[in-house]
Structure formats: structure tokens, C-alpha cells
């Protein structure tokens, strides 16, 4: 094969192919999967390394080589100082492709990773400028360079860098806006991301700005919004296609680099030049990193450790970008172009192959802190949030304008303005971080649960109540339908949780979780199961509703839902009998009430209402008019928050009579207690909640929202209107609240 390629060297890695067809995907993927928070926290350090570090590398390598040339170490070469500097500038930049390729396997701790990674991405701004500046200087010749030119060079740096970022940012916003509007044409959503991303690259390239910076910022800017706006399947698609393209391009780049080496025509060997180059880039990289880190550590809250610095220096890999730039050198201006190309190739091979391969053993040997592989538990996530808030508060108290304060301000700005414009309303509601963590954990539990059940033949392995088992048996059938959706969701979310670009972890590591199942206490089993139910259920419905092309028969849905619901309620009642949780008392109330309203509502109406509640936000208006939601949101401590769908009237006389008195009476004391906690409820709302506490109003509580979360006051304004509406449809309500609660739960 090599012999064949040798005979027919028709292919070379031309700059055009490389820079326009192979590189953008890699960088877009890098930007899209960049952990933003981490990046911006360390932005200062990253910029220092990228700008100052690269300039230092370029200058020192160029000057040293020139010095050696003058000293005669290289024999007879026709290279002037400027050309050396030009060469230095193209060989100085740490390459994003190579860094990604190597560091992705190694899983070092996140600070170290983001430093090297961020630097490799941002230094393109510097590299492009330096290369162009020196290229222009070389064309001009040494004599004509004066201060003006140098100043022009410096200014062009700022223009190129900031201009490129701005272009990227604009395109990022554009993508977000587009995805906001594509609810009905989800098929092409994913395509937009790629097209517009590539467009940002081309636009910057066209304007002679830094294209890499542009596409990086495009990816970074849009990731949050497109993940929120797009359908989950689109998000998955985008993520996987990006990885596919990026990995493919990387591979092709390196293959072509290899093939390009076989071209005999370009081979020029100059021992001195090549060896000295290798030596210098290695040494100066170390020096540069250590000096800069020493300076940075004076200002950093958490200093960068020595070992990390070693790895950072060692990880200064040069790659295809350098080669691409080298091939862009003009033959006529630079006589020794071939030598430079060869040297670049050798440098690339050396760093990528040698340093790349030995990186992992080195990391292990030096005991570098690795990335946390396990996902955070809820406690950790909660605590991280608490820390954030704590720091902001302390900064406020002590009057500092610190990093956290800035971040907080940015978050506020972002939430109030940008998200409003760029995110779909439904997405905005659901974006609470902790809750999504919780949701994902539940989905994982669900997967565990199902696989465990299947492993044991049926889902009967929870031995407590027979009612439970019964319910599960039925539910088990539904699982198979749920599973495809859930799988998609878990893998998606799981991917989302690993912020960095890792090998996609299998969505459920089944073996590990199975032991967990056996250790759980019975009550916790019950509880978790209920959690699973709730969320699984909800997830399924959300998915389903987004399909516009499935041929699900909605009515069939409803029946299943009703049956599941019925069983759930029954089993819940029974399980909560034995549960020791403090949560227990309020819960039955909610169930009862739900049941209550179920029967009261005529079939059609409930269907309609229930459907509204899991349609995303189209029906938000509908639910707003309903004062039930008003009640919900008013006491967010209100227990009625069952996300079960209100199935159409299941006849369940067993439940009908018990519920009203108990529920009615039990609510107020409990609500009173809860209201003390809830600081979100305005007194007037509370009053409203208390007041019309007849069973007729209980009904209103029913179609509990999946989507309605906001506390808008205008929702509260409609109770009277809704009340009348409700009254029309209700059968005459039972008598107003009798005093003592009959402890009647059988």
C-alpha cells in the first residue's frame, strides 16, 4: 500500500481540504461539549497561557533557531530572522486536535484538562495573527518594517480575536433562536446546528478573522439553549453526529498527515534544524508553562499544582494545524519551505506519537489527580448549589466584587433576558438543575429496576404487599413500551451529565446497579418505586406527546393510564399504611382527591384536561385559566402535586365516599404547617387557598400540572370564574367539611 502510494503520490493534505473540510467539525464538537462554567471560571488562566504562552513560544523558538543559525549549527540555510520567526509562530501553537485526541483518553482532573484544552482552542487567535503578520513582514522584506507595521500587527490581533469570537457568538445566538422556533419541524433541527456552525466558521474565514475562535464560541454559546429547546431525540442526534464527524475528521487528518510524509519530493533533511527545533519547542514549553503558572498562582484561588504543570507542559502537542499552516507557506518567499514542512511533520509525529502515547503512563506514574468518574450524588449536587449561594452571600456581606458576584450577576442577566428570548417557554420552566439531576437519577433507577425484574423472571421480587406485586405485574407489561423511550432518555441524559468529551458511558451499567437493589430497605423500595412511577410515567407521556408521526391511538392510551392509575392509587394507599415516613399523611389526601375529582368529571372533560397537562406548553394557556393550577402554585408546599394524569372517570365507588371528609379536614392543619415554611406564598394567596375549601374545589386541584409551575398572580385571579365553571359540571357537592378526621384509610 505504501509502495503504491509511493508510486502515485497524488494526494496531499492541502490546506484547503484541511482547514475547510476537516478541521471545523472537530472544533465545533470541542466547543459544543465544552464545560462552560469550568471554562469561564478559569478563563483568565486560559487566556494567559493561550496568548502570552503562544507568543513566548513563537518568539523564543524563532529567536533561538536564528541564533543557532547564526552560530552555524545548521549549515547552509537561506533563512532570515523573519522567516525564523514565521516558522516559530507556526510551530508554537498547541494543537486542539491532538490535545483532544490524547487527553480524552487520559481523564485527568478537570482543571488541568480545561487549561490545556482551552489553551489549545484559544491560541488559534494568536497563531493566525502571528502567522499573517510575519508572513506580511516576510513579503515586505526586512527593511520596511517599522513601528507602524508592528502596531498594525498588535491591533490586528485584537481585531482578529475579538472579531472571530463575536462572529461565533452571533451565530450561536442565531442557532438558539432557530431552535426555539422549530417545535413543529423537529426533523431539521439537528441539521441547523451543523449548517450554522459551519457557516460561522466560513464567515469568520471570509472576513479574515479567527475561524477557530468563531466556531468555538458558536458552539459554547448555543449549547445550553439548543439542549433546552430541542427535542431530546434531536439533542441526542446532534451530540452523536458531532462526535461521529469529529472523530472521523480527526482520524482522517492523522491518516493524511501520515500519507503526506511519503511524498519524496518534499523531503529535505537538515539535522541541525530539525533536532534543534524539537529541543527548543520542548524546553521552551516547559519554561513557559512554569513561569506563567508561577505568576498565575499568585492570583488564583486554588493554585495549580506542580504535577499538573508538568503534565500541562508535556501536553503541549503540535498537530495538524501547524502542518496546515506550514503548507500554506509561499514557495517563492520562503526558499526553504520544504525544510520547514518536513520539520513540522517530524515535530508533529514526535509530539503526537511519542508524547501522546506516553501521556497515559506518565499520568499514572506521576499520580496526577484524575477526573471524578462517578456521578455526583444528590447531596453533592445540592451542596454545590449551596456553596455557590453561600459564596455569593459572603461576597455581598463582605462587600467584595468577586468572581462569584460577577457570575451571579451574569446568571441573573442571562436568566431574565437571554433565556427569555432564546429558550422555549416550556424549556425555561423545566430547567431547574437539581430537579433534572433528580429526574435522571430516577430514570436510572427505573432502568435498574426493570432489568432486575427481567432478570428474575418477573417484577415480583419485592415481597411486601401483594397489592404491590399485583400492580407491578401489570406495570411490567407497560415497561416494554416505556423502555425504548426511557433508554433514549437515559442515554441522552447520561451523556449530558458527563460534561466533558468522554467515551460515551453505557447508559446503564447494569451489573453495578444490581447489587444496589438488594440492599434497599422495604420502605425505601416502596418509596423509590413510587418515585420511579411518577417520573417514568411522566417521561413516557412527554415523549409521546412530542411525536407527530406516531400512530398512537390516544384512546387506548387513556385506558392504560386509567388502569395503571387506579392500581397505583390503591397500592399507594396500602403501602403508605405501613410506611413510616412522615410524608405519609399528606399523600393519601392527594390520592383521594385525585380520585375524587376523577369521578366527578365527565369523561370527555377529563380527557381533555388531562391531555392538556402533558402537552408541553401549547396548553399552558389552557391550564392557566384553571384555578386548579392556581391552587397548586400558591402553596408550593401543597401536596397535591401528583403528576398522574387525570384519567377519565374510573368508577371506583370504594374510594368515593371516604375521601372528602378526610381530605378536607386534614388539609388545613397540614397546610398551615407547610405554609410556615413556604416563604413564597403571599398572604393573599394563602387566604385564597384556605377559603373555599369545599370538595367542589378539591376537584379543581385535580388536573395537576406537569407544566404549570409559575406563580403568576393572574392565575390566581381566576378562581371565581373557574369556580362557576366547575360548579356547572359538578354533581352537587357533598356537605361542607365535617370537623374531626375519621382515620379511615382502608
Amino acid at each position: 500500500m505504501i509502495w503504491g502510494a509511493d508510486r502515485q503520490q497524488t494526494f496531499k493534505l492541502t490546506p484547503t481540504v484541511f482547514f475547510l473540510y476537516l478541521l471545523p467539525q472537530v472544533i465545533l464538537d470541542a466547543g459544543y461539549s465544552m464545560p462552560n462554567k469550568l471554562f469561564f471560571s478559569n478563563m483568565g488562566a486560559i487566556l494567559v497561557y493561550a496568548v502570552i504562552g503562544t507568543c513566548w513560544n513563537a518568539a523564543t523558538v524563532g529567536l533561538s533557531l536564528w541564533g543557532c543559525h547564526m552560530g552555524g549549527a545548521m549549515g547552509d540555510l537561506d533563512i532570515g530572522l523573519l522567516q525564523y520567526l514565521l516558522f516559530g509562530s507556526l510551530i508554537a501553537a498547541v494543537d486542539p486536535v491532538a490535545v483532544i485526541a490524547v487527553f480524552e483518553q487520559v481523564h485527568v482532573n478537570e482543571v488541568l484538562f480545561i487549561m490545556v484544552f482551552g489553551e489549545s482552542l484559544l491560541n488559534d487567535g494568536v497563531t493566525v495573527v502571528l502567522f499573517n503578520v510575519f508572513d506580511a513582514f516576510v513579503s515586505l522584506g526586512g527593511a520596511k518594517i517599522d513601528a507602524v507595521e508592528i502596531i498594525k500587527g498588535i491591533i490586528s490581533f485584537f481585531v482578529v480575536a475579538f472579531g472571530g469570537s463575536l462572529v461565533g457568538f452571533i451565530f450561536g445566538l442565531l442557532i438558539s433562536l432557530v431552535t426555539r422556533c422549530t417545535k413543529n419541524i423537529q426533523i431539521i433541527e439537528a441539521g441547523f446546528v451543523f449548517v450554522l456552525g459551519y457557516l460561522s466558521y466560513l464567515t469568520a474565514e471570509m472576513l479574515s478573522l479567527s475561524a477557530i475562535l468563531s466556531i468555538v464560541f458558536c458552539g459554547m454559546c448555543c449549547q445550553k439553549y439548543i439542549n433546552a429547546n430541542m427535542d431530546e431525540r434531536s439533542v441526542t442526534t446532534v451530540r452523536f453526529v458531532m462526535k461521529l464527524l469529529a472523530n472521523g475528521s480527526e482520524t482522517i487528518i492523522f491518516v493524511f498527515l501520515g500519507i503526506s510524509a511519503i511524498d519524496k519530493a518534499i523531503w529535505v533533511w537538515n539535522t541541525g534544524f530539525i533536532l534543534l527545533t524539537l529541543l527548543f519547542i520542548f524546553v521552551y514549553r516547559f519554561i513557559g508553562v512554569f513561569v506563567l503558572t508561577w505568576i498565575l498562582n499568585k492570583y488564583r484561588l486554588v493554585p495549580i499544582e506542580f504535577i499538573d504543570q508538568v503534565i500541562m507542559s508535556y501536553g503541549g502537542l503540535r498537530g495538524a494545524v501547524a502542518y496546515g499552516l506550514a503548507t500554506m507557506l509561499d514557495e517563492h518567499k520562503i526558499k526553504e519551505r520544504n525544510l520547514m514542512i518536513c520539520t513540522t511533520l517530524i515535530v508533529v509525529y514526535f509530539t503526537v506519537i511519542l508524547q501522546g502515547i506516553t501521556m497515559k503512563p506518565l499520568v499514572t506514574w506521576l499520580k496526577v489527580k484524575r477526573a471524578a468518574v462517578s456521578e455526583l450524588t444528590i447531596v453533592e449536587k445540592v451542596q454545590n448549589k449551596v456553596f455557590d449561594h453561600m459564596l455569593i452571600a459572603i461576597e455581598d456581606i463582605s462587600g467584595q466584587i468577586g468572581h462569584n458576584y460577577m457570575r451571579d450577576k451574569w446568571n441573573h442577566f442571562e436568566e431574565s433576558w437571554m433565556s427569555r428570548v432564546l429558550m422555549k417557554p416550556s424549556a425555561r420552566k423545566n430547567r431547574d438543575h437539581l430537579f433534572s439531576v433528580f429526574h435522571q437519577l430516577n430514570l436510572k433507577d427505573a432502568m435498574k429496576y426493570v432489568t432486575e425484574g427481567e432478570r428474575r423472571g418477573s417484577l415480583e421480587f419485592i415481597r411486601n404487599e401483594s397489592a404491590f406485586v399485583d400492580f407491578k405485574k401489570k406495570f411490567g407489561d407497560e415497561y416494554s413500551e416505556i423502555m425504548p423511550d426511557v433508554t433514549a432518555d437515559t442515554s441522552d441524559d447520561h451523556g449530558g451529565m458527563s460534561a466533558m468529551r468522554r467515551d460515551p458511558v453505557p447508559s446503564v451499567s447494569l451489573e453495578l446497579h444490581e447489587q444496589g437493589m438488594n440492599g434497599m430497605r422495604e420502605t425505601e423500595d416502596v418509596n423509590t418505586h413510587h418515585l420511579l412511577q411518577q417520573h417514568l410515567y411522566k417521561g413516557r407521556k412527554q415523549h409521546r406527546h412530542r411525536y407527530s408521526r406516531t400512530h398512537f391511538d390516544v384512546n387506548k392510551d387513556e385506558n392504560e393510564v386509567q388502569e395503571i392509575f387506579q392500581r397505583t392509587m390503591r397500592s399507594r394507599l396500602e403501602s403508605f399504611k405501613s410506611a413510616k415516613m412522615g410524608v405519609a399523611p399528606p399523600k393519601p389526601i392527594s390520592k383521594h382527591t385525585k380520585k375524587d375529582q376523577q369521578q366527578k368529571m365527565p369523561n370527555g372533560k377529563s380527557l381533555e384536561k388531562s391531555r392538556s397537562y402533558y402537552s408541553g406548553d401549547e396548553d399552558f394557556e389552557f391550564s392557566e385559566g384553571d384555578s386548579a393550577s392556581g391552587y397548586d402554585s400558591s402553596g408550593n408546599s401543597f401536596p397535591m402535586r401528583v403528576t398522574y394524569r387525570a384519567g377519565a372517570g374510573i368508577e371506583n365507588p370504594a374510594f368515593m365516599d371516604d375521601l372528602d371528609p378526610m381530605s378536607v379536614v386534614q388539609i388545613p392543619p397540614w397546610l398551615a404547617e407547610a405554609e410556615l415554611d413556604s416563604s413564597m406564598v403571599a398572604p393573599s394567596q394563602r387566604a385564597q387557598v384556605r377559603l373555599p375549601w369545599t370538595p367542589s374545589n378539591l376537584r379543581r386541584l385535580a388536573p395537576l400540572r406537569i407544566s404549570t409551575r409559575s406563580n403568576d398572580s393572574f392565575m390566581m385571579a381566576d378562581p371565581s370564574a373557574a369556580q362557576q365553571r366547575d360548579e356547572d359540571q359538578l354533581p352537587p357537592p357533598p356537605s361542607p367539611p365535617p370537623p374531626p378526621p375519621p382515620p379511615h384509610r382502608d
Binding site: V302, H389, M390, I397, Q534, N636, F638, V642
Partner: protein, 193 residues
């Protein structure tokens, strides 16, 4: 380094405070200026209203708790020394400090965690009960989340952290569940010089 109106002499026990908390003289001075700024009545002590005058704290979900953390059980006011001691928890851990055992330093990992723990544990019984956790979650999770979901989250959190199965999280369990988190990083504020 300070303004003409305040210098180290105004600060009572400055040397001891510096020793105890690890703040430098410049830091201490700056904090004293801030203290005086917050203390609008010039009483020499801060009361909860003074803290609440800081507007941003109202927007902070745990602002109230942080304020309470400054006032140890039963006290109505905070003097400068206590103010500084609380803030000292947030000093970055200085590896070069050699005086005093690591454990005793105001900003050691344990002390920081203790501070965080006390934010949850309002009744100071040494454990975070489900209720206390619920309260914090409720404050932080916003209005979108239903009560049931909150309870589930709290339950789940306790499940994960509660090793001795007593239904509450003790300080040791809390520490253990956060052992992977870089507390120093997360709980440090860079005090301006």
C-alpha cells in the same frame, strides 16, 4: 492602606484576631471598614437588620440562613470579632501557615464543612433531619418543583448519605458524602487586599 478615619488602633484585639483567623492586617482593615459601613447606627455591633440592608441578600435563597449563621444561638448582635471569625471560614486554605495545628485553623476543611452543615441544621441538634433538608431544598429549588417531588428528592438524598440508617444526616455522614468535593475550592472567597 486604609482611609484616614480608621486604622488598626480602632480595631479591638487586632493582633489576636489576626492570629486566630489568619487574616492579614490589610484584610482586617478592609473588613473593619465594611463592618463600619454595615453598622449604620454606629453601635459597634451588627444586628440582623443591618445584614438585611444588603440588598442582594434578599435575592439569595439561603440569604436568611447565612445571616443567621453570624448570630450564634441566642445572640442578637454581632461584634467585629465574631464577624471576622465567621468570615474567616471562607479564607482560602493557606498551605504555608505553620502556626497552630491544621485542625484548629478557622478555615480548615472541617471548620468549613461545619459551617456548611450548620446552614442546614437550624436546631443545632447535630443532625440534618429530613425536614431540615426539605427546607433547604424548598428554598433552593424554586417554585417549579412540587412538594412531592421535593420530598422525594429529600428522601433520596438522605438515602444516599445516611449510612447508619437513622433517617438523618449527621456531621460525619455529611463529611463523608462530600469527601470527593474540593471544599477548599468551593468554599473560599478571595478577599481583596
Amino acid at each position: 492602606m486604609g482611609s484616614s478615619s480608621s486604622n488598626m488602633n480602632h480595631i479591638p484585639n487586632a493582633q489576636e484576631l489576626m492570629q486566630e483567623t489568619g487574616f492579614s492586617a490589610a484584610h482586617l482593615l478592609r473588613l473593619y471598614e465594611r463592618f463600619e459601613f454595615l453598622d449604620r447606627d454606629g453601635k459597634g455591633e451588627l444586628s440582623p437588620d443591618d445584614f438585611e440592608a444588603v440588598r442582594e441578600l434578599a435575592l439569595n435563597p439561603i440569604g436568611g440562613r447565612i445571616i443567621e449563621a453570624f448570630f450564634p444561638q441566642g445572640q442578637e448582635t454581632v461584634d467585629f470579632a465574631s464577624f471576622v471569625r465567621v468570615l474567616a471560614h471562607f479564607r482560602p486554605n493557606d498551605p504555608n501557615r505553620k502556626d497552630g495545628a491544621q485542625q484548629d485553623q478557622a478555615n480548615s476543611r472541617t471548620r468549613k464543612l461545619k459551617f456548611a452543615f450548620q446552614l442546614y441544621d437550624q436546631d443545632r441538634d447535630g443532625k440534618i433531619s429530613r425536614n431540615e433538608l426539605l427546607q433547604v431544598l424548598r428554598a433552593m429549588l424554586g417554585i417549579q418543583v412540587t412538594e412531592e417531588q421535593l420530598q422525594s428528592i429529600a428522601e433520596r438524598a438522605i438515602q444516599e448519605a445516611d449510612l447508619d440508617r437513622d433517617g438523618a444526616i449527621s456531621f460525619d455522614e455529611f463529611k463523608k458524602s462530600l469527601e470527593k468535593v474540593n471544599i477548599d475550592h468551593k468554599m473560599s472567597v478571595r478577599f481583596l487586599k
